[in-house]
């Protein structure tokens, strides 16, 4: 805990001092026109391998294209002829060295340049890799999120369908129960009807039996005889007619 406090105080002191240096006399608005943010440009152009192009441009307006070359050659001639530039033994080894450097630059230069450019690109790609990977990951996450939202919408549809299904089931159960009530009521009514029919039939049968019994009991032998005679008389009357 104490060590953390000590570190914090050190950090605060450092940031305060660096802020002071960086701020300077803080006043005025940022001048983007005359002081634009420096950008990493292309390398400067040179002629003859090392002489800046600006040197030739400086001469161009005054002396034309050949001016700087004339100056160079004239100066070299002057220096050599007056022997201000002394050509001792090292000068000739220097000439051979320059020749070798020139041949090496012409022969190996393009290959080395291509290889180095490739390395530069590799390094830049490796430095950007984390960022591009993060961007790619985030884009993938957004895509996944959209898919998930689409699926969630599907879930809503599914829920609708399930609710409808439940309603259909409720309807079916309701109708089934209605049917059950109908059949039960019909069974009871049928029972009542059958019962009433049976009672009526039984009552009728008993009544008929009782009446027939009483009628047959009421017929006397005399009456029977009279009826028989009457029947025979009717038969004989019918026979006489035909």
């Amino acid at each position: 805990m104490l060590s953390r406090v000590a570190l914090r105080s050190v950090a605060a002191r450092q940031s305060a001092s660096t802020a002071l240096v960086a701020r300077g006399s803080a006043s005025g608005a940022r001048d983007e026109q005359n002081f634009p943010r420096p950008v990493r440009g292309e390398p400067g152009k040179v002629r003859l391998g090392f002489v800046p192009e600006e040197w030739f441009q400086f001469f161009h307006a005054k002396t034309g294209v050949t001016g700087p070359y004339t100056l160079g050659v004239g100066l070299a001639t002057y220096l050599c002829s007056k022997e201000i530039f002394v050509m001792e033994h090292e000068y000739y080894s220097g000439l051979s060295l320059i020749l070798m450097v020139y041949i090496a630059a012409k022969k190996l230069g393009p290959n080395i340049a291509a290889w180095l450019d490739k390395e530069v690109d590799n390094i830049e790609t490796s430095w950007n890799e984390g960022r591009t990977n993060t961007i790619k990951g985030l884009e993938q996450a957004i895509k996944d999120e959209k898919t998930a939202q689409w699926r969630a919408e599907g879930q809503e549809l599914l829920m609708e369908a399930k609710k409808e299904n439940v309603l259909l089931q409720l309807e079916a159960a309701y109708r089934e129960r209605l049917m059950q009530v109908y059949t039960e009521v019909k069974r009871r009514l049928d029972y009542q009807l059958e019962k009433t029919n049976v009672e009526r039939r039984m009552a009728q049968k008993n009544m008929v039996d009782w009446i027939v019994l009483n009628v047959t009991k009421a017929i006397t032998p005399d009456q029977e005889k009279q009826t028989l005679d009457r029947c025979i008389a009717d038969l004989s009357a019918l026979a006489a007619k035909h």
């Binding site: 608005a29 292309e42 390398p43």
Partner: protein, 107 residues
């Protein structure tokens, strides 16, 4: 102004990020555009303190760095410039010994 400080004229809120190759004071006529008869007054206007000389060297160094050494795809030009520069430098410092190798009899 102590060692390691920014130039007095540099104001971050106006100038933005510090460019070590840039002179933040009041600009004078560039040397390439000075007329011959103005050279005396131009030289008289220069600040000749040691710190100003060191600042000029530092700006020259950084402008060379930014122009030839620090771009993304540099050629062999800055190395040839270093080579030529060092050859000239060592020729100059050894000139007293080279003089003895002169071949002339009559000039």
């Amino acid at each position: 102004m102590a060692f390691g400080d920014y130039p007095k004229e540099y104001n971050p809120s106006v100038h933005g990020p510090y460019d070590p190759a840039r002179y933040y004071g009041k600009p004078d006529t560039p040397f390439g555009q000075v007329k011959l008869n103005e050279i005396g007054s131009w030289l008289a206007r220069r600040n000749k303190t040691p710190s100003a000389f060191m600042g000029a060297c530092s700006r020259a160094w950084w402008s060379w760095q930014h122009k030839y050494m620090q771009p993304k795809r540099v050629g062999i030009a800055p190395f040839f410039q270093l080579l030529v520069g060092s050859m000239t430098f060592f020729y100059v410092i050894n000139y007293g010994k080279m003089k003895h190798h002169r071949n002339y009899k009559y000039h």
